[in-house]
């Protein structure tokens, strides 16, 4: 456990380091000046804005596509049903560079200019599976009689969706959406190949890594990334906690 969390403590500690290029332990002194430096940097703000925008749009697309697919796979038996689960899983099961280079080459061939939307398309492709898995797991635990009963009582599809499906699915979708958001916010490999000249926050951090000066600034921004991904994920895990005895719901890998 210590092994898993100790590094984050180190990140926080060195954000206050008075040394600007070394990681001497224990740090010779502590200061908060790097926070000011980070917050005054316009490129950091631009990267943060882009990351937030991409992650939000990705979440939206992933929610729609992922839950529709889950509904289809859950409700019907059809030819190629197994193949769909495989197809959805593929972008995340294959290494990130595969998705990255594949999209990079097809955007290039199709003459699509690289920008915010190319990042969103790339992220949505591999984030879909998270929503899909969460929604499918919830569908499977829902009684199929519920929608039948609703229809028998005269509800239209829209009403059934609004009053029966959504309340049942809501937490699963919220949890899946949050995970998709965090995954997109954090992603760097696929992003590198589809971002063009723009920098998302992880790319911004990475581009600064090899500059020896003002290193604690990177740590300050890293703390922001931790806050923006850790807290929402914790929330999402607590949301699906009712399923603690079957804790597999939220878990599928990422790549």
């Amino acid at each position: 456990m210590l092994f898993l969390y100790f590094p984050l403590a180190i990140i926080i500690l060195y954000a206050f380091n008075t040394q600007s290029s070394l990681f001497t332990f224990p740090p010779p002194g502590l200061t908060t000046e790097w926070f000011g430096v980070a917050f005054r940097d316009p490129s950091m703000w631009a990267a943060l804005r882009l990351s937030l925008m991409v992650a939000s749009l990705t979440t939206l697309v992933a929610l729609v596509l992922g839950s529709l697919l889950a509904a289809a796979v859950h409700r019907s038996r059809f030819f190629g049903r197994e193949a769909i689960s495989f197809l959805v899983l593929l972008p995340i099961a294959l290494p990130g560079i595969v998705t990255g280079i594949a999209l990079r080459s097809s955007f290039g061939l199709a003459g699509v200019p690289f920008g915010t939307w190319t990042i969103v398309i790339a992220h949505a492709t591999f984030c879909m599976v998270i929503v899909y898995n969460n929604a499918l797991a919830r569908f499977r635990r829902m009684s199929p009689n519920l929608t039948e009963a609703s229809a028998d009582l005269g509800a239209s599809g829209g009403q059934t969706f609004r009053y029966v499906l959504m309340p049942n699915l809501a937490t699963a979708l919220l949890a899946g959406g949050i995970l998709a958001f965090a995954l997109s916010f954090d992603e760097i490999i696929v992003t590198t190949f589809t971002a063009g000249q723009q920098q998302t926050l992880p790319i911004w951090i990475f581009s600064r890594l090899f500059r020896p000066r003002q290193r604690p600034v990177t740590n300050v921004v890293a703390i922001m990334v931790i806050a923006l991904t850790f807290v929402p994920i914790l929330v999402s895990q607590l949301l699906t906690r009712e399923t603690a005895e079957r804790p597999r719901e939220g878990v599928r890998g990422r790549a």
Partner: protein, 312 residues
């Protein structure tokens, strides 16, 4: 049977619902098409165009991609320098997967067998959190931990263990100028980052081993190691395979960590990154990308046959 008031024609919403209820195929298509079209048109077509690029070549003088069929790019892939990159990456991926499996097993076993439900939920949360978040941040942290003047060496010096580490880092093949700049550092960072991906599927698989099997094995006179080898390990296999799919795939395709850690020798991901970005040789980048893809495809198909996906 619809219970609308008699005599009143059903509204549009109801008629639409009825239409889709009576025509499950239409409903299915409506649900299915957006996602499937997205995956086919964007993802599968992209894989296709990547494949196409790998059969084209870069004209060295003009720096332009020549779009005619050639195997020259693949021939480049087999040049000794590039072959070394592939072998190096596959070896690292194997080592990382094995290490993750060994480290993950005891914890997964504890979670599945001995932990109280509350403890299990807590452990589960603790493991899942780093799986979803801050990949780059945690890599960054290890760079600072392993730094020469950093906390690891500080601790080791206090413990008097620094000569051991110096010997390790100085060792041929795996060593380098410092821990960060050696395969040992890269290996540590990889294992650390991918460990949760191994723990969870293994735990899920072990969860399904009925305790009665272990008791039966013991009753039949099997010593613990035999029970482990003949009962636990085979039943945990789908979990180990599922976990290794992740650790292997993630290691094969990563170019961030090999850039932050390790020697100057390239890994597949870095070569792809440099060929695509700096040199602009998209055909060679595509051909290189196909290597981990082919490896993973074979592995996934094999894994599917062992039923590893149900254990996820």
């Amino acid at each position: 049977m619809r219970l609308t008031e008699p005599g009143r024609p059903p509204g549009l919403a109801l008629r639409a619902s009825g239409f889709f209820y009576r025509r499950p195929v239409a409903r299915l298509l409506l649900l299915l098409l957006p996602g499937v079209l997205w995956l086919l048109v964007i993802y599968i077509a992209s894989l296709g165009s990547m494949l196409a690029y790998s059969f084209w070549r870069l004209e060295e003088f003009t720096g332009l991609v020549v779009r005619e069929f050639t195997l020259r790019t693949y021939a480049q892939l087999l040049e000794p320098a590039n072959r070394d990159i592939i072998v190096r990456t596959a070896a690292m991926a194997t080592a990382v997967s094995v290490a993750c499996a060994i480290l993950a097993f005891p914890l997964a076993y504890y979670m599945a067998r001995y932990a109280s439900p509350r403890m299990k939920t807590a452990l589960y949360l603790v493991i899942i959190m780093p799986l979803w978040s801050s990949y780059l941040v945690r890599a960054l942290a290890w760079r600072q931990i392993l730094a020469n003047e950093g906390i690891l060496n500080w601790t080791l010096e206090r413990l008097g263990l620094d000569p051991v580490v110096r010997a390790l880092v100085g060792a041929p093949l795996v060593g380098g100028p410092s821990i960060v700049q050696s395969y040992i550092g890269l290996f540590i960072a990889f294992v650390y980052l991918w460990l949760p991906f191994m723990i969870l599927p293994v735990q899920a698989a072990l969860e399904r081993v009925p305790p009665s099997y272990l008791e039966a094995s013991g009753d039949l006179g099997a010593p613990p190691w035999l029970t482990f080898r003949r009962i636990v390990l085979p039943l945990a296999k789908p979990g180990l395979i599922a976990g290794s799919v992740f650790t292997f795939s993630l290691t094969l395709g990563d170019f961030i960590l090999p850039q932050m850690f390790g020697t100057s020798a390239f890994f597949i991901g870095q070569q792809v990154f440099v060929q695509q970005g700096v040199i602009g040789n998209l055909p060679l980048a595509a051909a290189f990308t196909l290597v981990p893809m082919v490896i993973m495809f074979a592995y996934l198909l094999l894994a599917r046959r062992t039923g590893a996906f149900e254990a996820l």
